[in-house]
């Protein structure tokens, strides 16, 4: 594992030396701005929006459609190039013929993806000190912390899934589309399925609700740090990474 820092530095270099990182960050900054506007607006009319006063994080991040839309688009964009591009340009050949193991390569690419993902959340954090110190709105720090943890484990899972699809193809678009479809299933379709099941009063509705990422993150935003959810995120993440290593290894046996 001693090669991981070197590999990681290159991945991050490739990302942050290009224009891509800043374009995506810019888009997130705009989205954060819109959400923050909405939050301040809601907070200045406390009588009308009781619930959001109680959970500002829910209004600001975890229940915002704009936030989810941008995450669903940005994560596939970040992860699609990680391995697919190396396959397309052929640099994978030089990478896999060095005394570096597949696990090291996968781990450092995943770490790079997670760091990029976390960088995307920074614009959302930028506004909060203003709310706290400038506007003297002393919101609870607990939910902020649990939301941070939840979004991180969710991101680790999402990036691992994106990395797996990136390893499967040499076409970045294909990798991005597959990643988007799977993330969309996890976030939106589970939610719709839950509503459908709940209306039928089916027993499985509760199980689907547990799997719905939207519901999970909303709970984090309300300050519920559910360790079962974190365990779920981490085990999906580890499984996807394991599959990615296996995909790279079987690539030799083509």
């Amino acid at each position: 594992m001693r090669h991981v820092p070197t590999l990681l530095a290159r991945e991050l270099g490739a990302f942050f030396l290009g224009p891509m990182a800043y374009i995506v960050l810019m888009a997130f900054e705009v989205i954060a701005l819109l959400n923050f506007w909405e939050l301040v607006d809601a907070l200045s009319q406390p009588q009308r929006e009781f619930s959001s006063v109680r959970d500002p994080m829910t209004t600001y991040v975890s229940a915002s459609p704009l936030f989810w839309f941008s995450i669903l688009v940005a994560v596939p964009l970040l992860t699609m190039r990680l391995i697919a591009e190396e396959r397309r340009t052929g640099t994978i050949e030089t990478l896999l013929t060095m005394p570096v193991s597949e696990a090291e390569i996968v781990l450092s690419k995943w770490l790079a993806g997670v760091l990029m993902y976390l960088a995307l959340l920074v614009p959302f954090a930028v506004y909060l000190p203003f709310l706290y110190f400038q506007a003297r709105y002393y919101f609870d720090l607990g939910p902020l912390l649990s939301l941070g943890i939840g979004l991180t484990t969710m991101g680790m899972m999402f990036v691992a899934i994106g990395l797996m699809f990136s390893a499967l193809t040499r076409n970045q678009i294909v990798a991005a589309v597959w990643t988007f479809v799977v993330l969309f299933l996890m976030v939106v379709l589970t939610l719709l399925l839950y509503f459908y099941g709940a209306r039928q009063q089916a027993g499985w509705a509760e199980a689907v609700r547990f799997l719905a990422v939207y519901v999970q993150v909303r709970a984090f935003g309300q300050g519920q740090l559910d360790l079962r959810t974190i365990a779920l995120h981490l085990s999906v993440c580890v499984f996807a990474l394991y599959l990615t290593v296996k995909i790279l290894e079987t690539g030799r046996r083509r």
């Binding site: 070197t6 290159r10 270099g13 050949e93 013929t97 193991s101």
Partner: protein, 316 residues
């Protein structure tokens, strides 16, 4: 240094290479020659552990490619075809990155990099972006990268493809210089390159080894062209029976006059024996010509499948 035994690689139902066996000793420069699609790149990819073989064994510097791939990779420097590079990195930065991944110790890293930079004459472009380099420089960066960890074995896939004549000469000189320290296996489909650089040549055709011979022995080999009047088949059988003749091929056949081409072992001159045999059988000898068989002829012969080299007969 390199030991390959009955190596086979299959892509689905296509056999890219089939039961090839050869060995390369320390300090040898061996050229892997063959037409496009003959299996050169596949062979090299198996040797560098990029692909795993379907069957057979390959041992490099004492390590098996399947059992100890990491140990093999540590001993091998590889220049892939078309030299894929990260375009956003700078030359020196890239070499430093590779040296680190290849476990060049920190204390030696700076020295190792400056040595390959000067050997490959890269000092003028040290700070340039890889994506902005010309083909020749990219090739040299690839070479520098392959040898930055001072490997025992260098595997170079078409090191001169796409270069201009001056660059080709430079790269060839470089490879020859490297021959004193490294064992080199290089692939090419340019015959003159093999003659200029290599000590030995392995010709691959349709996934099999057609010829594996020292270049000086190949140069010694002679072909004898015979033209005689008489029954073609019987003449051929008689000629094939002469000591030192490796193979006889009928090259032309019209109106009772036939042409033959004789391949001989290791430079035996059998012209007198040919003349004697023909006259004792009462056939008229019309012409007898000695010709050095050039590498190119041997190559064409091997690839078009007219001749089967003894090494391949053993392999089957």
């Amino acid at each position: 240094m390199i030991q390959v035994e009955r190596l086979t690689k299959q892509y689905g139902s296509v056999r890219a290479i089939e039961k090839i066996s050869f060995g390369v000793g320390r300090g040898e420069i061996v050229g892997l020659l063959g037409p496009n699609g003959a299996g050169k790149t596949t062979t090299m990819r198996v040797l560098t552990t990029y692909l795993s073989p379907t069957s057979g064994r390959a041992v490099l510097a004492g390590h098996d490619v399947l059992d100890e791939p990491l140990a093999v990779r540590r001993k091998v420097g590889y220049l892939p075809e078309n030299v894929p590079l990260y375009h956003e990195m700078r030359v020196k930065e890239y070499l430093r990155y590779r040296a680190r991944l290849k476990d060049v110790p920190r204390s030696r890293r700076r020295l190792a990099i400056s040595e390959v930079v000067s050997r490959c004459r890269l000092s003028d472009v040290e700070q340039r972006l890889l994506g902005h380099l010309s083909r020749g420089f990219r090739q040299r960066v690839g070479l520098a990268e392959a040898m930055v960890h001072d490997p025992d074995i260098l595997i170079l896939d078409e090191p001169t493809a796409g270069l201009d004549p001056i660059q080709i000469r430079e790269v060839r000189n470089l490879i020859q210089e490297l021959g004193d320290r490294h064992t080199i296996l290089l692939s090419t489909h340019i015959m003159s390159e093999v003659e200029a650089v290599c000590g030995r040549v392995i010709i691959i055709a349709r996934g099999r080894i057609a010829i594996d011979e020292k270049l000086e022995r190949l140069r010694l080999e002679k072909a004898i062209l015979v033209e005689a009047r008489g029954p073609a088949e019987s003449i051929r059988n008689v000629l094939a029976g002469i000591d030192g003749v490796r193979g006889v091929r009928i090259t032309s056949r019209d109106a009772g006059i036939s042409g033959f081409e004789l391949q001989t072992h290791g430079g035996d001159d059998v012209r007198e024996a040919v003349c004697q045999k023909l006259t004792t059988n009462g056939w008229i000898l019309r012409s007898l010509e000695l010709r050095r068989s050039s590498l190119e002829e041997r190559f064409v012969e091997a690839v078009t499948g007219d001749g089967v080299a003894p090494s391949e007969v053993e392999a089957i």
